[in-house]
């Protein structure tokens, strides 16, 4: 990209040509306050908050719609700019209900953030605020408070530009205008959660997160979404370590994490809401012939049966490292022929984010030439069988193929769906409790941190290490 030289606040910078002044300033670390501008939406110039002074221009200019030019001199904090910002903020707040104490957005709200810096602090309007509906149900996940809305139209533009259908629009005009769907129909899209996330104020909020916990009590931990092979970047939000937050569930919210090459700053509703199901139906104790067993006993039983194993079924929810270790043990060391993998069955796909394969790591297994099990594959399950991961409820055909005489060892974080077939169950860590890397559909390797600690279970990697120690000792 060709570069141009511009001066921001009397300091010279080299920035990419074609950027808006707002993006150019951000690229060199200067923040210009804004509501309607969004990294992945076209500029609209609606909120007027990003006004800056440009030398030679007659009036203040909206930095989101002004492209940079060679030799441009921009002032982002001059007296005229700060005065304009204060007045615009005053107008944005003229009809704002200021119900921050009961607003879910509080703490993440741009109005609060900018008012802290550019506030007037004293209300100059002595007229009553205009009133709108405060509880418009937009969909099962979304609720709209029209009084809090500042009409930045991010939601309107998101639905138009990213989803490709205009679900929302501004109705009426001037001080009476408001955001709505036609005839108050409900929004039905697989990307509805993004409306709440993209809203810079508390107008559209998440019904599933409503009144659950205050924003500032949450820590955002980086992860990826395992629910399809795209591997969207997400934040897993968990309560801070405080005595008064002890009784809160450890998983409070999933939000999107910006990655321009994978998911931009959007995720689908499956990632946002269905990931909570990974926390359900957990099992924390080993089970041998319908009786609870501890780790010592598990190791002893493993020792007896490990060398009779002839079939290994890996899971497409294992990390690259776990797959590598498993293959080096079972394929290279034990020379087993029957190594397969399984996972959630394929589903729908679209052109925005959702991919067909509903597992995070099928690409890597296929890359390693492991065969995928499906209802048509002809397999003979001989001897003992070692299975990784059982949360693929629709994959019962695998379990049905296993003969009753076979000794079955299952390594799973969840209560098995066919307990009568399983002889030994080893409890393992779920997705949030292990670290490693996953390979997405285009071969991109992404690292995942351990988000939650759990002493009761071992990760698949630790269990594989245990197996390794048994194998190598013999």
């Amino acid at each position: 990209m060709p570069k141009v030289k511009i001066k921001i606040n009397d300091v010279e910078y080299e920035v990419e040509q074609g950027l808006s002044v707002l993006d150019a300033a951000e690229s060199v670390g200067i923040e210009i306050p804004h509501f309607c501008a969004h990294k992945y939406l076209k500029p609209a110039g609606l909120c007027r908050m990003c006004l800056v002074e440009i030398k030679g221009a007659r009036k203040l200019q909206t930095s989101c719609t002004t492209p940079v030019k060679e030799g441009m001199e921009v002032y982002t904090e001059s007296d005229a700019v700060v005065k304009a910002r204060k007045e615009i903020l005053e107008l944005h707040l003229a009809n704002h209900p200021l119900d921050c104490p009961e607003c879910d957005q509080a703490g993440d709200c741009l109005l609060q953030k900018y008012y802290d810096k550019y506030g007037l602090y004293e209300r100059r309007f002595d007229i009553e605020r205009t009133h709108f509906e405060k509880d418009v149900i937009l969909s099962d996940n979304l609720i709209l408070d029209r009084e809090r809305c500042i009409l930045c139209q991010r939601c309107v533009r998101f639905s138009e530009e990213i989803l490709g259908e205009k679900l929302l629009a501004v109705f009426e005009r001037g001080s009476r205008s408001y955001i709505a769907t036609y005839n108050d129909e409900k929004i039905s899209t697989l990307y509805s959660g993004n409306f709440a996330e993209i809203c810079p104020v508390g107008a559209i909020t998440d019904r599933r997160f409503r009144f659950k916990i205050r924003n500032w009590f949450l820590i955002k931990k980086e992860s990826i979404c395992p629910l399809c092979e795209r591997g969207c970047n997400i934040y897993v939000e968990t309560p801070k370590d405080r005595p008064y937050l002890k009784n809160y569930e450890r998983l409070q919210r999933i939000s999107s994490r910006d990655n321009p090459e994978i998911n931009k700053s959007f995720i689908c509703d499956r990632g946002r809401y269905d990931l909570f199901s990974l926390e359900e139906n957990r099992i924390f104790k080993g089970i041998y012939e319908m009786e609870e067993v501890g780790w010592q006993k598990i190791k002893k039983i493993l020792k007896e049966h490990l060398f009779t194993i002839e079939t290994v079924i890996l899971s497409s929810w294992m990390t690259n490292e776990e797959i590598d270790l498993a293959l080096s043990l079972f394929k290279d060391y034990l020379n087993l022929k029957n190594i397969y993998f399984w996972g959630n069955p394929a589903g729908d796909e679209d052109e925005i984010l959702i991919k067909k394969d509903k597992n995070p790591n099928s690409y890597y297994l296929e890359h390693k030439k492991v065969k995928r099990l499906n209802s048509k594959s002809k397999v003979d399950f001989k001897g003992s069988t070692l299975i990784f991961g059982d949360f693929f409820r629709e994959n019962e055909f695998v379990m049905k193929k296993i003969e009753d005489e076979s000794f079955v060892i299952l390594i799973s974080p969840y209560i098995p769906s066919f307990p009568e077939k399983i002889n030994l169950l080893i409890p393992s860590a779920n997705f949030f409790e292990k670290e490693g890397s996953y390979t997405n559909f285009e071969g991109r390797v992404q690292k995942v941190e351990r988000i939650f600690e759990n002493d009761k279970v071992k990760t698949e990697y630790e269990i594989l290490e245990m197996i390794e120690s048994i194998l190598r000792k013999k």
């Binding site: 205009k166 679900l167 929302l168 109705f171 005009r173 205008s177 036609y182």
Partner: protein, 150 residues
């Protein structure tokens, strides 16, 4: 409705003109949900957008109005020449307030910005016809005439 739509090319530029003609084609002078749906389908525009554009302009109505729409000019010249008296007189004769429709669905009373006929202030507009130099007596005869016409 189909005939009106097909007079126009399927271009979003025609949206306002189509809405106007649809509204004027009815005695009740309003746009129903079916109208908006048909327009959105015909022009291939999102329904929310059609509705958003239509609500933006105060000349479109979404509830049934009267056969005669009386717009009273609210601009300063008319005000000086006695628009207030005219407004009060109209409310008295028709027995309704501004923004309302008479029970016989004949008249709707609306306020309007300048009609551009300041030379004959105070003025009102009934549907597309302007009446100027009004006095309460003149007003009475106009309304009675309209009532007889039905």
């Amino acid at each position: 409705m189909k005939e009106i739509l097909e007079k126009y090319e399927r271009k979003s530029d025609n949206l306002l003109a189509i809405l106007h003609e649809l509204q004027d084609s009815k005695d009740e002078h309003y746009l129903s949900r079916e109208d908006l749906k048909a327009v959105s389908k015909y022009l291939n525009l999102p329904l929310s957008m059609v509705h958003g554009v239509a609500t933006f302009y105060s000349m479109y109505a979404f509830k049934p109005r009267g056969k005669y729409i009386i717009r009273v000019c609210q601009s300063p010249p008319c005000h000086l020449m006695g628009a207030t008296t005219i407004s009060k007189e109209l409310m008295k004769i028709l027995g309704i307030k501004f923004g309302e429709t008479t029970k016989d669905k004949l008249f709707t009373l609306e306020m309007s910005s300048c009609l551009g006929v300041c030379g004959v202030a105070p003025a009102i507009m009934i549907n597309n016809k302007v009446y100027g130099n009004l006095t309460p007596e003149k007003l009475k005869s106009i309304i009675e005439e309209k009532r007889r016409e039905k």
